[in-house]
Symmetry: C2
Amino acid sequence: MNRYLNVAMGQLGPIQRADDRASVVRRMCEMMREAKALGAHVIVYPELALTTFFPRWYIEDEHELDAFYETEMPNAETLPLFALARELGVGFYLGYAELAIEAGRKRRFNTAILVSGQGRIIAKYRKVHLPGHAEHEPWRRFQHLEKRYFEPGPGFGVTRAFGGVVGMALCNDRRWAETYRVLGLQGCEMTFIGYNTPVHNAPAPAHDDLSLFHNQLALQAGAYQNGMWVVGVAKAGVEEGVDSIGGSCIVAPSGEVVSRCLTKDDEVMVARCSLDWCAIYKRTTFDFDKHRQPHAYGLIVERKGETLAADGTPLAVTAPGH
Amino acid sequence: MNRYLNVAMGQLGPIQRADDRASVVRRMCEMMREAKALGAHVIVYPELALTTFFPRWYIEDEHELDAFYETEMPNAETLPLFALARELGVGFYLGYAELAIEAGRKRRFNTAILVSGQGRIIAKYRKVHLPGHAEHEPWRRFQHLEKRYFEPGPGFGVTRAFGGVVGMALCNDRRWAETYRVLGLQGCEMTFIGYNTPVHNAPAPAHDDLSLFHNQLALQAGAYQNGMWVVGVAKAGVEEGVDSIGGSCIVAPSGEVVSRCLTKDDEVMVARCSLDWCAIYKRTTFDFDKHRQPHAYGLIVERKGETLAADGTPLAVTAPGH
């Protein structure tokens, strides 16, 4: 037995504010055809793939804001993508802004869906780790208002799909080791992660030169430490004057990058991924049942932030065993 | 304010079974003098630094086994190291096998201590993640019996020392993201990690070519994802016919390697580390208080291993939010 899953990255170049969803869906359909020609069973698109990255603006008008969200999926604009998936037998992962009415309340999520090669939605994920800030901060060159425009999702789940066990995450989730571990503990063999990452990080411009390095480091560590494939796919390039990194890549359970996009435009790259390769890590170095020590992990769930002393400095606690 | 801590790696080359502790301590003292000459405030030695790596043998005779352990610290053989630390004003981290009598019971730990520049033990850590196996497995080219010869320690703590907040871990701990996170949640600014890592991994020889890559990947991810310095120090080279990796390195809170040993012998390398540099990560991308989402992390402590179906295959659970 060798379960191969051929995965395509459907990296998107910039989407300007004037670009309508129909034009973006046409670009995605073209990439899906390329992916099919390369033998792909599934194509991964970025986070918030249908519009420009709107959290860069402080938008006070609710109708103006709502226009960036999808209230149903599929809808008239995205239906061609679902139809093409069914026609080609190619599944996809798609990120978009979701506006849901739940218990009579308007709720907003940064969402990804997994769609089968029959064109059916088989799983939905709502982003857990929302970066940025909730209030207008005019000192920034551009805003990053995800904490204003979305609420966090409940958690990470996996789905049996494409012959394996597949997980989803979004953008900033990839920097948090907890994301991969919670998926790994559910047997996840491949995680899809779309992202939008501006090169410039306003609160920490010292990081700007390292954006691509940090992106790849986090994806590689998450893959290795859980013996899973990780597929990270960017929306890249200069959108409305803001430059975002590309660097979409497919990382093997060994932590090795096996495929990588080179441009900051629409670009399709593919890799043939053996899902059985996961076991070489999951059943040895990272055999959780043999080697994890949850008795020592309590703080991870008991505490959100650091323990700080009254003067704001880190609080040293006594080392156990001493 | 800029709190600089000058840290030396005291990488050790091989220690053969015939080498006595006095000869090893002489090598370590020589390295401590070199470290002092390079301006170091503290030197980090490897795991199980006083003897050859004895878990590679199945030892049935208890007296023969006991001879690899220290029953007190300092003791006659290690006292010169403590005296030199006091003389030079250089602190150190030292790994060794600890045999303790606690509640009338013989207990064995894979231990590290932190010693101040006044030559006083200020913290002790007992290894949490013991790799390898507990029973004799003669099919292996050599054994890795840490699960037989040690019991796991209670957890990870930090100590206020050398002008900052310092954590300790040992060897296999460095592959587990939980290690760094539990330390990071306690405000850790620098983690010392000694290790012994054979190039050949008997259950997973496909990993052998990647040993150095995996070592560095884990150290870099742990540093970056918690905005802390990480100092990994090897016992390297061919001991009793078994080759171990070197690759000792100092990793900045950015995830960048700033200093690295080049040989597989006794080698001192040093880096000038700004502890205040941590805040550039701890107060931005990895501001835990703002960005962590413990509501989604429950499985990390609730579950040791993967959830598997009755037939041994991974169990897919429903994706939350769907």
